[in-house]
Every structure is written in structure tokens, then in C-alpha cells.
């Protein structure tokens, strides 16, 4: 497979509407037309199942692209042509500007825009020397998953480090407690000494609420277990206003980066009968689709089974 290496573009801005991206990713739009495997190998390996995992991945992606469609068939629905009289009705407004004309005439689809954006990100990331393969579809999601896992780990690490900070800050002194109570401010669940005491719901509290909260806690916290490190629950301190402002000021993620990652808790995938939707207990030996039992399998074998996905 040939590939296009994108050279660093140093001069003026690239011509609008055109961008080259290294094509290493799987493109669902193309997959429907051209199988990724070479034709010969596809034919040779057909009976053996061949590269099942990648083929199944392709089938899934094609299926998802199918589910994403607006209409089953490609139909062109032109905007009705306006009568001259009606077109004149916009007389109150200024003349159409060049921007508007450009936008209206643009036939770009979402996919085109997304590719442009990926190319731009790719451009800037290679220029910066950081970042890898932002142009890749699956790569990006994989990186996302990795990223989110790293984030989880980081969060966990942060969580484990919090008690030390909170513990040292609290140090059993009432003053620190009051401080924490005020820190609860906007958020945070009330630290409760024992699980038997129902938690007051964490609310987006006003100052009044905050005061009530601290009073209630003073009552609750007067127990002999108060200083037991095992029983104390630690509320992480509220981030300072500066951190919040910093978070709020962050730029939005790119479209691909904001896609959700792989599930954290990985159950084994569920399979369903392709005929009736019940559990897919048996797998067709030639096409690997699942059926629930012999009834469905016979129908499948007689009418639906193709050796290819």
C-alpha cells in the first residue's frame, strides 16, 4: 500500500479546501468499496476464515456507517428554487456577502470538514514534534482509550495522595474542620464518621447551606471514633478558584478527542442470534455469524449464509 508522507509546509497558508493526510487509517467510507486485503489473498483465504479479526473489524465499521445513514439509498433532495418575487422579499437585508456565498455554495460534508481538521491537527502536531498520528481514526480512539486510562490512573494516584494532605490539614483540630466545612462551599459530600449515618446529599450549596452543613457536622463529628484514622472519611479539598478558572478557560477538545473511550469495566462481549435476536450460542462454521439454535441455524444456512461478511 502506497503512502503519502506529509512534508512540513513552511511557506504561506496552504490552498483552501485541499489537504493531504497520510492514509494509514481505516476509512469506513472507502471500506465499503474496496476491501483492505488484497483481492487474491481474500479469495484464497475465504474458506479458511483468513484474517478474521480485521475482517470482523471492517464488518463492524461498515455496519456502524450503515447505522449512521440518514436514508437507505442516496437521494439528492435539492432545495426548492425560489420564485423571483419571493427572492425579492429579502430586500430589507444587505446584499449577500462573499462569506455567505462561499458557505452556501460549499458542498462539503461533515466527513470533509473532519478530514480537514485532522489534517490541521496532524500538521501542527508534527510541527511541534509532539503528538502522534492524530489523523488516524482508530489510532486516535486507541490513543484516547489509553489517554483516559492514564487519566484514571492519575486520578487514582491523586485520590490516594489526598488523604495525606487532608489528614495533615485536618489533624483533628476544630479549626481545620471549620476550614474544610467552608471549603465544601459549592460541592463535596459531607464527611461522615460512620457509614450508618445517612449522608446529606451533596448540593450546590449557598452560603446558608454551608453554615447549616458545618453546624450539622459539628454535632455529628463529636464521637470517640472521631480521630480513628480508619473510620474517618476524607473529602478532597475543593480546588481553588484559580484552578477552576483555569479549567473553565481550557479550549475545547477536538471532535475525535472528545469521543468516549473503551468501557472501563470490560465484560465479555455479548452475542446475539442473527435471526431472532436471542442469545447467539452457536456460530456458523462458514460465516461466523451467531444463531441461537438449530431452528435459526437452518434458516440461516438455507437462505442467509454467505461465506463473506
Amino acid at each position: 500500500m502506497f503512502r503519502v508522507e506529509l512534508l512540513q509546509h513552511k511557506g504561506a497558508a496552504p490552498a483552501p479546501g485541499w489537504s493531504y493526510v497520510a492514509d494509514r487509517a481505516f476509512n469506513p467510507a472507502q471500506a465499503a468499496m474496496a476491501p483492505t486485503l488484497s483481492r487474491k489473498r481474500g479469495i484464497r483465504d475465504a474458506g479458511k476464515g483468513g484474517d478474521m479479526s480485521s475482517r470482523r473489524a471492517n464488518a463492524i465499521i461498515r455496519h456502524l456507517a450503515e447505522l449512521d445513514r440518514e436514508n437507505q439509498r442516496d437521494v439528492s433532495i435539492p432545495v426548492p428554487v425560489k420564485q423571483a418575487k419571493e427572492a425579492g422579499a429579502r430586500g430589507t437585508r444587505a446584499k449577500t456577502t462573499s462569506n455567505v456565498r462561499r458557505i452556501l455554495q460549499s458542498q462539503k460534508t461533515f466527513r470533509n470538514h473532519l478530514d480537514d481538521e485532522e489534517a490541521a491537527i496532524h500538521n501542527s502536531s508534527t510541527a511541534g514534534g509532539a503528538g502522534t498520528g492524530a489523523g488516524q481514526n482508530l489510532g486516535a480512539t486507541a490513543a484516547m482509550a489509553k489517554g483516559s486510562k492514564a487519566a484514571v490512573a492519575a486520578a487514582a494516584a491523586r485520590r490516594s495522595s489526598t488523604p495525606i494532605v487532608a489528614g495533615s490539614a485536618a489533624a483533628g483540630s476544630a479549626a481545620a474542620k471549620r476550614k474544610r466545612a467552608s471549603a465544601v462551599g459549592t460541592a463535596a459530600s459531607t464527611p461522615t464518621p460512620a457509614p450508618s449515618i445517612p449522608e446529606t446529599p451533596a448540593t450546590t450549596a449557598t452560603d446558608v447551606e454551608g453554615e447549616n452543613d458545618s453546624e450539622g457536622k459539628n454535632k455529628i463529628l463529636k464521637t470517640e471514633y472521631d480521630n480513628d484514622p480508619l473510620l474517618r472519611s476524607y473529602a478532597p479539598t475543593m480546588p481553588s478558584d484559580r484552578i477552576i478558572q483555569r479549567l473553565l478557560a481550557e479550549p475545547p477538545l477536538s471532535y475525535n478527542a472528545s469521543r468516549v473511550g473503551a468501557p472501563i469495566s470490560s465484560h465479555s462481549p455479548r452475542h446475539f442470534c442473527c435471526m431472532c435476536g436471542y442469545w447467539g450460542k452457536i456460530r456458523c462454521k462458514s460465516c461466523h455469524l451467531r444463531t441461537c439454535g438449530l431452528d435459526c441455524y437452518k434458516v440461516h444456512e438455507d437462505s442467509r449464509c454467505g461465506a463473506f461478511f
Binding site: E70, I77, T97, I103, S189, A235, P252, G261
Partner: protein, 467 residues
């Protein structure tokens, strides 16, 4: 009539250039531009009763439709002009939640809000003088800058609104009065309309499902996550299953959407429900069964589709024909029998892995979103989870979300999941309340003069909050 009124207004605008630049027009038009329907109307006075406020908002299909007889019908006219939805094809200017095709979108907006004739009936949708109107337009999170820029340029240059604010749709929900919904007891201050401090908005719409943590009315951008499954995918999936198992419905997107809305539910015990619909068990139980019949609409007889309990003997009776004593009406109807399709389809929102998608379901997505935020904020967001969007109306959705979110969330946190009172209009209602807080609105909105002075690049940076 409207145009002749608009003209002097436009002149007045031009002849008084010494207006202070931060003077936003009084009237505010809120437009929640969804991929399936637009929710639009002038912002209502929040002191009115909820019904009155709600009546200010109308929903308009955001689409061009080509019917079977090759007529092309636009947005607002659909409800009156189309009765036969068989083989209707759609062209939606909003792709994946973002306005992509402005050619079609302009036509729909023109027909819905600007044309005199088309908008004569509903005064609250007519924008007679854009110069004297502030527009609040929603967008989906993580939009591409080029699309945002296109939107800004179209709004300000094609129609020339006097004021304009482009907001993230989910953030507007925070402006609603949600304390009663979440059962917070403390008295709210009625004097000013302020957003919730912390709110986690789950927006499950037509094109996708997003999770947005909103802090005091502003989104925490780094934590916004998106699952690429929305109502469209559910409809298409149901269409595909039904076409495979029963009738060929591949061209009937509209009808299958109605079927989905009528029959689907989110299972709270997937395995048990699956067993109940097992072929072997279907015949035995008629009471309390999951299986239902959906009678397809018959446009020739002018009948709409509807759902009724499954009658296992009906099929046999129909085979016998007239001798079975069934009326001609019953004999002529087309029936879809829906069993496990009813709950395996919405199940995708919670288990995208069922169709091989490597993305997490909604409860997991909420945790993934929170994992990049400071831990102290987790509790506040988990205690205030608000679900909006059309999919929230699927029966069982809320219960499922809460039961799945509770065990995976930290045990210290209270988890409260609530459906907005009206999940579809919630965003619009929030926008309407924002419009009544003039100070806050002027913080996020730009005026026409500012746009003309600084251009669309500046406007984009301003809406992104960098200026």
C-alpha cells in the same frame, strides 16, 4: 406587511450609529437547533406559568423531505402537508449534531422564521426584524472551528441579527430552576436568575449522546465526552432488524421512528427480559408478555400506526381468511411482531459493544468524563445529573442509568439522576431564562456593531471565551 415594518426599523438603526456598543436588542429569540427538530421561539417572561413559557416554544422538524410522489416539503410544513410517510427521504442540514449544510438550513430557517406567508400563523416564530433581535443559537459540544465560523458568518451576515450568542446546548440547561427537581430544600433566591453551580448534563439526542459537566453555566471543556449513538442509530438498528426478520422496512425511516417511539423500552433486567421473549416461552405466556404487535399505518385508509398486545392466534386466523370471522379491516392490516427488539435496540445506549462498537455506555461515559476533573468536584456532579434529549423519554432509561451509575460511582458520593421535566424543551427553556438575565446575556453575546467592527474571527474567539 412584515417587510414594510422592518424597513423603517433598519433605517433607524443606521441613522443612530452613536448607540452604545453593548446595547443588545430587547427581544431575544432562542433557537435550539437540533438535528431532528429545532426548538424555537421568543424568550418568555420567567414569571409566567410554566405552561405559558412552554407555549412560547415550538418544535419544527429540521429537514427537507422528499415524499414518495417526489414532492419536496420543508420543515414547518411537514405536519400539514405530508400524510403519506412511506418511502419519505430526508435531507438534514445538521450532520452529527452540527450545522454543516447551510444551503438547506437557510431555506428551512427562511421558511420557518422569516417568510411572511409561511410564518403567518405562528407569531412567536416570526423574526420580522433581525436587526432588533438577539439570537441565542445552540451548538453541540466540540464543534469544529470552521463550522462555528460558518454559523457566525451566516447569522450575522445573511440575516444580520442585532445581537447574537452561540452557546453550548447542554450548558443552557443549568439555567433552569432545577432545585425542586433535585429536591434541594433550601429557598432559592427569586431575584436573579442564575445557573446551577454544578450540573452534569447527559444529552441524548438524535445524532449522539454527550456528557457535559457544567460549572456555573459554563462547560468544563476537557471533560466533555461523546458517545456516537443517538436516536438515529437506534431507529436504523430497529429498521435493520425488522427488515431482516419480518418486512422490508429499509426505506421507512419515519415509520420505524414512530415504531421505536411507541414500543421501545430500556430493560432493567436484560437477561430476564431476554428469556421472556425466547421463542420457546412466547407461546406459553400471554399474560404480562413483552411481545407486542405494531399495526403499521395505512395512508390510503388514513389510519395511523399503533401498538396493541400480541395475539399469538392472529396469524393462524388470518391464514384462514374470511372464514375465520375476522373483519376485513383486521385482515388487511400489516402487523409487526416486536419481541426482544423492544429492548435490545435502546440497549445500545448502555452497551454499545452489542454492535461491536468499542465505546463505553452512558454510565461509564459519565465516570470517564469525571476522571479528568479534580476529585473534589466528582461528588457535586454525581449528585446533580440531569438527563435531557429525546432518548430520555424512553421508558426505563432513568432507572437503568441510576442503577448502573450507583455501583460504579464512588461510595462516598450521592448519586442523583433526574430527567428534565421536559427533556426535549429543557435546553430551550434554559436559554429562555438566560435571555431574561440581561447582565449574563450581555457577557456571552455580541452585538451587530461589534461583529461588523471586529469580524468573525473575533466573534469565534469571544464565544470560545478567550477574549
Amino acid at each position: 406587511m412584515g417587510t414594510s415594518k422592518a424597513r423603517p426599523a433598519a433605517k433607524a438603526q443606521k441613522t443612530s450609529p452613536d448607540l452604545p456598543s453593548r446595547n443588545l436588542p430587547e427581544k431575544t429569540f432562542v433557537l435550539d437547533n437540533g438535528a431532528y427538530t429545532m426548538k424555537a421561539g421568543y424568550a418568555a417572561d420567567p414569571s409566567l406559568s410554566p405552561e405559558d413559557v412552554q407555549s412560547a416554544c415550538s418544535s419544527i422538524p429540521n429537514t427537507l423531505v422528499k415524499t414518495r410522489d417526489n414532492r419536496i416539503v420543508i420543515g414547518a410544513q411537514l405536519s400539514t402537508q405530508v400524510t403519506d410517510w412511506n418511502e419519505a427521504a430526508f435531507r438534514r442540514p445538521v450532520e452529527k449534531g452540527y450545522i454543516v449544510n447551510w444551503e438547506a438550513e437557510r431555506e428551512i430557517w427562511e421558511q420557518s422564521f422569516f417568510e411572511e406567508k409561511a410564518t403567518a400563523r405562528n407569531k412567536n416564530l416570526r423574526i420580522a426584524a433581525p436587526e432588533d433581535t438577539t439570537l441565542i443559537l445552540t451548538e453541540a459540544p466540540n464543534a469544529m472551528p470552521i463550522l462555528q465560523r460558518n454559523a457566525d458568518e451566516m447569522v450575522m451576515e445573511e440575516w444580520g441579527f442585532g445581537g447574537y450568542a452561540r452557546c453550548l446546548g447542554p450548558t443552557l440547561n443549568a439555567w433552569n430552576d432545577l432545585h425542586t427537581l433535585f429536591g434541594d430544600s433550601f429557598a432559592k433566591s427569586d431575584t436573579t436568575i442564575m445557573p446551577m453551580d454544578c450540573l452534569l448534563v447527559v444529552d441524548s439526542g438524535y445524532s449522539h449522546t454527550t456528557v457535559t459537566p457544567v460549572y456555573k453555566g459554563r462547560a468544563l471543556q476537557r471533560a466533555i465526552r461523546r458517545l456516537d449513538i443517538g436516536g438515529k442509530h437506534l431507529t436504523n438498528y430497529l429498521k435493520e432488524i425488522v427488515s431482516m426478520r419480518q418486512y422490508n422496512m429499509v426505506d421507512e425511516a419515519y415509520i420505524m421512528n414512530e415504531v421505536k417511539e411507541a414500543v421501545s423500552f430500556v430493560s432493567n433486567n436484560f437477561k430476564a427480559d431476554m428469556e421472556r421473549t425466547c421463542k420457546a416461552n412466547i407461546k406459553r405466556q400471554t399474560e404480562n408478555s413483552v411481545v407486542v404487535d405494531y399495526i403499521l399505518p395505512d395512508p390510503n385508509a388514513g389510519k395511523k400506526g399503533f401498538m396493541r398486545p400480541h395475539d399469538p392466534l392472529m396469524h393462524a386466523k388470518k391464514k384462514k381468511g374470511a372464514s375465520s370471522g375476522l373483519s376485513a379491516e383486521l385482515l388487511s392490516e400489516d402487523v409487526l411482531v416486536l419481541g426482544n427488539e423492544r429492548f435490545t435496540v435502546p440497549e445500545l445506549l448502555f452497551n454499545p459493544g452489542d454492535i461491536g462498537m468499542i465505546q463505553a455506555g452512558i454510565p461509564d461515559m459519565i465516570l470517564q468524563s469525571l476522571s479528568v476533573l479534580p476529585p473534589a468536584l466528582h461528588a457535586a456532579f454525581l449528585a446533580n445529573v440531569l438527563v435531557v434529549g429525546g432518548n430520555a423519554s424512553i421508558p426505563g432509561f432513568m432507572e437503568r442509568l441510576e442503577t448502573e451509575l450507583r455501583p460504579i460511582a464512588s461510595a462516598d458520593c450521592v448519586v442523583r439522576v433526574r430527567r428534565a421535566e421536559d427533556p426535549i424543551y429543557s435546553t430551550w427553556l434554559g436559554g429562555s431564562r438566560l435571555a431574561n438575565n440581561r447582565d449574563e446575556l450581555s457577557k456571552v453575546a455580541i452585538t451587530r456593531q461589534e461583529y461588523q467592527e471586529y469580524g468573525s474571527g473575533w466573534a469565534g474567539r469571544r464565544f470560545a471565551g478567550t477574549i
